[in-house]
């Protein structure tokens, strides 16, 4: 009985639709390599009617043109020629015939080659897989009919469906009635959430010393917020990253130094005077110069060769800084990510951003996190430290090896503590005043004892575990203070760090409406013509017609009387022509002005600020609200 159901995979991919293409591409390649050569994917926008869906499926599987009857009416003169047998009929029965042939060919070929291109376990009848990329966008009617047709052929043609679902699997039930969904054998597959994808991408591209190119906190914040607030699209995030890269190398001449160490040193060696001047202009370099003694300062400002040498040194320092920064960042994150309420953020990127922006140890969140860490139980703390040690192990720099050694020492000390702990316990029991608490019934006495207990606890000698815990956390704190300093304090950081978040935001998160409004209300902003420069709010008389018309329309209500508008326009334009305000034809409507006005209004209509209305014939309706 089950043989008559069409096997169907419901693939829930999340709402980040732009990313799905890559997933489906990978999926169909994988299927083609290991399961079946017959994989076809269709999109809703190319399948508005059943015949189009059918045509697309047939064309892509069989690799031939499948003309629809209507579309080739023009060339139907040749239809009586018997030679046109090649044209495939647009129906599944022709696919069936083709499939039988293809399977035979396939079987005949495979014993010789032993399926070199395909995996070993290719079935004698490989299934025909149809991928519906965006199920939600398909018209339910088309889909239902298609499934009905397919189920008629399932005995001869091993069809399989894959539904790409962006929202939730219950969409299937909304789209298909029971009579149709009973023809399918649906199994659910869920992809990773897009935030996990993003975490991987950030982990591999941003949080690594491998690549010299870096983003400042603000830029990263822009990219992440576009992702979280707007589209959930990892692909767009990567595009943004690429844009930042291009912008950096395009706008910062010193980015020649943003490459691997050896090349960077070579480039610094070959600097000409102009480049050296650029280095001197860098704010971080200026700060560096200020901190040197007077003699060195003079040398740095006058001697180009000396600057080159210092440059090389600073570049190396920057690299060292990165080599230490990332392992320590991961350490701190692994320690704090399991704390209640996540004082330093759940994701490592949040911690990274706050480290980039300020001294993390001065923040309140860091102090809370440290306090919480000082309260950890032993097994938790040891596990967390072990984690840290694992994270530090791959780091190659000397400093990190030292830190690792220290941590490991402490871990062994904690282990040794186990033997001592039994004695401690005995001791503690003796000093524990909890027992006499039960005797007291008097309220005053009770209060007094409790107070005493608190006092005694405060002054109580710390257990060896507590001493060790404080020591190890002091070391962690020291690591953070030494290595997680913000990159802005590093001289020459501008070479590697891309910082213009505004440019990126403008490019990635465009505001067409605002741009149009700026163009209309401040034409100087785009045209850069001296005559247009005015005080804020007002508009020059000589501005383009559409700007004048726009400015005037802001003063009107929802409906605008065209004649009043025209008169106002003519008055403004006459003033611009420098006519005498007292002359009789001042502000008079002539043909030229009339035509210009009409053109401006229709331009405004085109941009979408007004439209004609049926309520009053000589009026237009405003489509925006607010304004004046």
């Amino acid at each position: 009985m089950r043989a008559s159901e069409i096997p169907t995979a419901a693939l829930v991919l999340g709402v980040n639709v732009p990313d799905h293409d890559v997933t489906f591409q990978g999926l169909s390649e994988l299927l083609q390599q290991s399961v079946t050569p017959f994989v076809v994917s269709v999109q809703a926008k190319e399948c508005t009617a059943l015949k189009h869906l059918m045509q697309k499926v047939l064309e892509r599987i069989m690799g031939v043109d499948v003309p629809l009857n209507e579309e080739d009416e023009g060339q139907s003169g040749s239809c009586s020629v018997p030679g046109n047998r090649k044209r495939a009929r647009c129906s599944l029965s022709s696919l069936c015939e083709w499939y039988q042939m293809a399977v035979k060919k396939f079987a005949a070929r495979s014993p010789g080659k032993k399926c070199s291109s395909l995996g070993k376990d290719v079935l004698p009848y490989p299934p025909v897989v149809i991928i519906f990329k965006d199920l939600e966008a398909f018209s339910p009617r088309v889909l239902q009919d298609f499934i009905l047709i397919c189920s008629r052929y399932i005995q001869q043609l091993p069809l399989m469906f894959i539904f790409g679902i962006a929202t939730s699997p219950s969409t299937i039930q909304h789209m298909l009635p029971h009579s149709v969904s009973s023809l399918l054998c649906i199994e659910l597959f869920q992809s990773l959430s897009c935030t996990q994808h993003l975490a991987t991408v950030i982990d591999q591209l941003v949080l690594t010393p491998k690549f010299p190119f870096k983003l400042t906190g603000k830029v990263l914040q822009v990219l992440v917020s576009i992702f979280l607030y707007h589209d959930f699209s990892v692909r767009n995030f990567i595009k943004g990253l690429q844009l930042a890269l291009v912008e950096h190398f395009h706008s910062q001449p010193l980015s020649v130094l943003c490459c691997c160490k050896k090349e960077a040193v070579d480039h610094a060696q070959q600097f000409i005077h102009q480049d050296v001047e650029r280095v001197r202009q860098l704010p971080s370099f200026m700060r560096y110069v200020e901190n040197q003694d007077a003699e060195e300062q003079v040398k740095l400002l006058t001697n180009d060769d000396h600057v080159k040498e210092v440059c090389q040194k600073l570049i190396k320092n920057l690299r060292k800084y990165h080599k230490n920064y990332h392992p320590v960042l991961r350490c701190l994150h692994s320690l704090t990510s399991s704390l209640p309420k996540y004082p330093l953020g759940k994701q490592v990127r949040e911690l990274h951003i706050s480290c980039l922006e300020k001294n993390i140890w001065e923040t309140e969140e860091y102090n809370t996190a440290m306090q919480l860490l000082r309260m950890l139980a032993k097994d938790e703390l040891v596990a967390a430290l072990q984690n840290c040690a694992d994270l530090l192990r791959p780091a190659k720099s000397e400093k990190m090896k030292e830190a690792l050694q220290q941590l490991e020492d402490y871990i062994t000390k904690f282990d040794k503590l186990d033997q001592l702990s039994s004695e401690d316990l005995m001791e503690e029991e003796v000093t524990s005043p909890g027992k006499d608490l039960q005797k007291k019934t008097d309220l005053f006495q009770l209060q007094k004892t409790l107070l005493e207990m608190r006092e005694s606890r405060r002054s109580k000698k710390m257990t060896p575990f507590e001493v060790l815990r404080n020591q190890v956390l002091d070391i962690v704190d020291q690591l953070v203070r030494t290595y997680l300093i913000p990159p802005e304090t590093q001289p020459m950081n501008e070479v590697c760090y891309y910082s213009s978040s505004g440019v990126l935001r403008r490019h990635l998160n465009a505001t067409p409406r605002t741009s149009i409004q700026t163009a209309l209300s401040h034409p100087y902003y785009y045209l850069q013509h001296e005559g247009l420069q005015t005080d804020t709010g007002s508009i020059s008389n000589t501005a383009p017609d559409i700007c004048v018309v726009y400015k005037l329309h802001l003063e009107c209500g929802r409906l605008i009387n065209l004649f009043d508008w025209l008169e106002a326009y003519c008055t403004v334009v006459s003033a611009a022509e420098g006519k005498d305000p007292d002359s009789p034809d001042y502000g008079k409507v002539d043909e030229l002005k009339h035509a210009r006005f009409i053109q401006a209004v229709s331009e405004l209509e085109f941009v979408g600020f007004v439209k004609s209305t049926k309520q009053k014939t000589d009026h237009v309706a405003r489509l925006t609200w607010g304004g004046c």
């Binding site: 096997p7 129906s91 039930q173």
Partner: protein, 445 residues
Amino acid sequence: MPLQLQHEGYSEEKLGLLAEKITCRETQASTLLALLGEPDHYTYPSIFIYGHHASGKSHVTECIMKELELPHVTVSCVECVSAGLLFEQVVMGLYGSEATALLPRSSSILDFVRVYKQLSSQEPSYQTRYIILDRAQLLRDMEANLLPGFLRLQELVDDNVTVIFLSEIVWDKFRPSTGCFEPVVLHFPDYNKGELHQILTLDSHPSYSPELYSSFINIMLGVFYSVCRDLRELRHLAALNFSKFCEPLERGEVKETDTHKLWKNIEPHLKKAMQTVYLREVSSVQWEEQQQKEEKEAGALKGLSAYAHVELPYYSKFLLIAAYLASYNPARTDRRFFLKHHGKLKKTNFMKKHEKTSNHLLGPKPFPLDRLLAIFYSVVDNRVAPTASVFSQISSLVTLQLLTQVGHDDQLDAPKYKCAVSLDFIQAIARTLSFDIVRYLYDFL
């Protein structure tokens, strides 16, 4: 006592074979046979057979055609995306694939009639030819002259041909306004419980006695008959659950005759099947797998509708909330909800008469884009630039079918939308933003 099929034109032997195949449909079959007459008789030009899904229409017709070896062609109308394809399949079925070359590419009924005439004069047949159109209800959506044309095809092509329509819809819904040739209408009623039992018992398992299978079917019908009378679905369920039924037998705990114990074993199982596999919440493969391992771990399988949670970008969530508010609140009340100094409005004297019914009962109302954005800006706590991505989020909500666009005119200037999500869904979304949506809904004031 089953009705004996009797007909003069055909041998007893053939009729006997036919009768075996069409359990519980003897009456309809003999009527149909009587209508068809002997092979060389002219038959009534068109026969219309209707009855519910899985009531044996196609099966009976196919069996008669096959067993009595009548020249026929069966075409499923759902497959024919255009009329041309339909003609092509008919011609191919009756005259072979070479004959289809005669049909022009985008053929009309006129071409079809012409080609058919030509072919039938080349190959005259003394037997009636039959054209069976399955799912004939779809003919109504094709060209207007198709249905009337097929109804009187015999007259048009002047040949001994009969068209049989199979449909799930009654003839009254077919009749075109211009009038047409009336076919003979034949109804296939639903199977009753006894008939279902009789048919289902036919596919008994070879390794068990038919009596056992029959008792299994009895139990199964007891559970499912109240919700499902679809033969196909019942067969599917029977096949899926029979192995579970036989488990105690295989373990040797119960004898075949001990029906009560078998019943106790299978009944809770069938009840569960009714909630999951019957509704296709769980696929049949998953169901079988679960049956295999059920003894070890009773991990409940989550059905399709259990995954209702949808993750959305931050602003998309607010846009959806704004759309929901715009759809279910009367526009006049926006002042009350989104202005700080709105004054006091009491619901009773504020309401108009027709608004007394809950908006949630009436369903979502369309709203213009402006209103959506106005509400959006007032529910989002921080300032949002009107960027292109906010607008593209609206259209992606439309493609995800969380919003629907209504109306076709003026799509550029003032598009209108409706919110297409349920209250539960929007409450789940609002909870993730810690936004108390109920406070903003007019119905819950």
